[in-house]
Amino acid sequence: MKKAILLITLLLALSLAVMACGGDTTPAPATTAPANTPPATTAPATTPPATTPPATTAPAETAPAETEPEPVEPAVTGPISVVTREDGSGTRGAFVEIVDITIEGNDNITMEAEVAPGTSVMLTSVAENPRAIGYASTGVSLADDRVRVLPIDGVEPTTENMLSGAYPIARPFLIGYNTEEGLSELAQDFVDFILSAQGQGVVSDRGYVPVIPTGAPDYAGSGLTGSIVINGSSSLYSLMQRLSEAYREINPGVTIDIHGAGTGHGISAVRDGLADIAMSSRDLRDSELEFMTPLDIAIDGIAVIVNPSNDIAGLTMDEVRDIFLGEVTTWEHAR
């Protein structure tokens, strides 16, 4: 009996301790809250535990008075939770470069941005947090209905819009070879495979946009043997790995040596005759076009994603830049 009483008091003490910790923490959001202009909508979200009855009635009474006659209230208000990828990620690099989130050429995504290690964590973070905004490859973003893909400058990131260049946040994945020396017979065969229906199928399986979405020629296999050396962008590395696997299923006698040392390394390797094919995740510069012939093999689009409960219609490139620079910090302001 005594034991039971002690047990219960112990449990009570524990739960009290937890509650007390919780109690201590509630004043803090109040100090951080001033940034939120309409307190009516954020108040119930931040302090629901004790004051449930007044909290539910308060916004109904005060909201119409504060937001003029407009009865339609935006679904998402308050501070924007910017979610970014880690420093060094290819997606981050491309996003920063295309949207130009830089200061003096340096990546300047706000330090207050949450850092999601990997695409899946990025998608989950945005899916779970109503105030989040993030970015990810268009392929995976469009396939994941837990997040909403925003049109940028009024353009949806569809395959057609990326092929036509209307969707702004996209970059080409291209390969290049030495113009003077040309491609070896084997390398040419591999390139044919990449641009065939099978190769472009691998491209779309990996979540990228194929440059030849329909009507690519069929690849039958050549029976060639030998080896190909490929070097360049690490962003293309895994795609190229898959392409090579698929190619070697058809032509088992070929070895393909792929290095992801970076776009610059790959291009100089091709210039110096150390590699057959270079991979680049950006357009070639004029100086590089003097000795290299580029071939687009895929388009990598980056989608700006928000929570499905976010009703914002779309953003412009400038708005995206301001949000990721940390200059626009609330959803009210972003509209």
């Binding site: 501070p79 060094g88 290690p117 947090n129």
Partner: protein, 292 residues
């Protein structure tokens, strides 16, 4: 004679095998030490030890890059302190309950449950944190949910098995006579437990806390999934904002890092290693004191 020498060789062989097994662990520690310091210290030197340890800007992709890990050192300290705040009281009370109060049928369920808690991979904790704790903290306290508080709660749960298991066995190791003496002097069971047994097991309980702290400092996967990972120097009252720990810093960027950036990450590992060494030194100090 012949049989004796066979026994001798058998014994010798066994000794060698055991000695080799023992030295494997030492060799591993030695190698880790050597490689970590060999690669990390020059980087620290290049960046400037003072700048590295007290710099508040972590901008590895900038030109010129900035490698200041103070936000991460402080971040690690915050989440560890938070884990102690959540994990230690619950852990010790649970250990008291299990060692002295709990009836056998409950114990039979509780003990395997705690062992199971210890065996859950940290990525599973991380996922649990992402889909349960992060939304809970966001809806209860505001903010984005990925915060120092969330990481502290999750780590507090993760160090529970360490604290409970070691504290419990420390309390069980207290000689029964001490308890009986207390009861004979008129103490109730509860009084004897809290005022006699728990103090007698003090050093074991402290050891459990230090090991728990070691686990909290070194935890990587789960923390980086719930902490937000912003490399920003936080003040203690900003516990609803995210932070980046030393471990998270290494794992986030090591995959892409090259040259100086990579060296700076290894140097971060050196700092982490020193942290763990300090914690282990505290642990052995405590054990020594206990033995004396």
């Amino acid at each position: 004679m012949g049989t004796r020498s066979l026994g001798f060789y058998k014994e010798l062989a066994a000794k060698i095998i055991f000695a080799l097994s023992a030295s494997a662990a030492i060799l591993a520690v030695g190698l880790i030490c050597v490689f970590l310091f060999m690669q990390g210290l020059p980087a620290m030197w290049d960046i400037g030890i003072f700048e590295f340890l007290t710099g508040t800007d972590w901008r590895p992709s900038w030109n010129p890059p900035r490698f200041g890990i103070l936000p991460m050192i402080v971040g690690s300290l915050y989440v560890t302190a938070g884990a102690i705040l959540f994990g230690v009281p619950i852990g010790i009370f649970a250990a008291v309950f299990m060692a002295e109060i709990c009836p056998m049928p409950i114990y039979r369920v509780l003990k395997p449950a705690i062992n199971l808690l210890a065996g859950i991979p940290s990525v599973v904790y991380g996922y649990f944190g992402m889909v349960v704790l992060v939304p809970f903290v966001r809806e209860t306290f505001g903010g984005s949910g990925s915060s120092i508080l969330t990481a502290s709660i999750l780590l507090g749960i993760m160090i529970l098995p360490t604290i409970i298991t070691i504290s419990e066995s420390a309390m069980r190791a207290v000689p029964r006579e001490i308890y009986e003496g207390a009861v004979a002097l008129g103490a109730s069971h509860e009084r004897a437990v809290f005022w006699v047994i728990l103090p007698a097991a003090k050093s074991g309980v402290m050891a459990s806390i230090i090991l728990g702290v070691g686990r909290a400092v070194g935890e990587t996967m789960a923390v980086r999934m719930v902490a937000g990972n912003q490399a920003v120097l936080r003040m203690p009252h900003e516990f609803l904002y995210g932070t980046r720990t030393l471990t998270a810093n290494v794992i986030l960027e090591l995959g892409y890092a090259a040259d100086e950036h990579r060296a700076a990450l290894i140097a971060t590992g050196v700092v982490l290693f020193v942290f763990i060494m300090i914690i282990n030194a505290l642990f052995s100090l405590l054990k020594k004191k206990d033995g004396a």
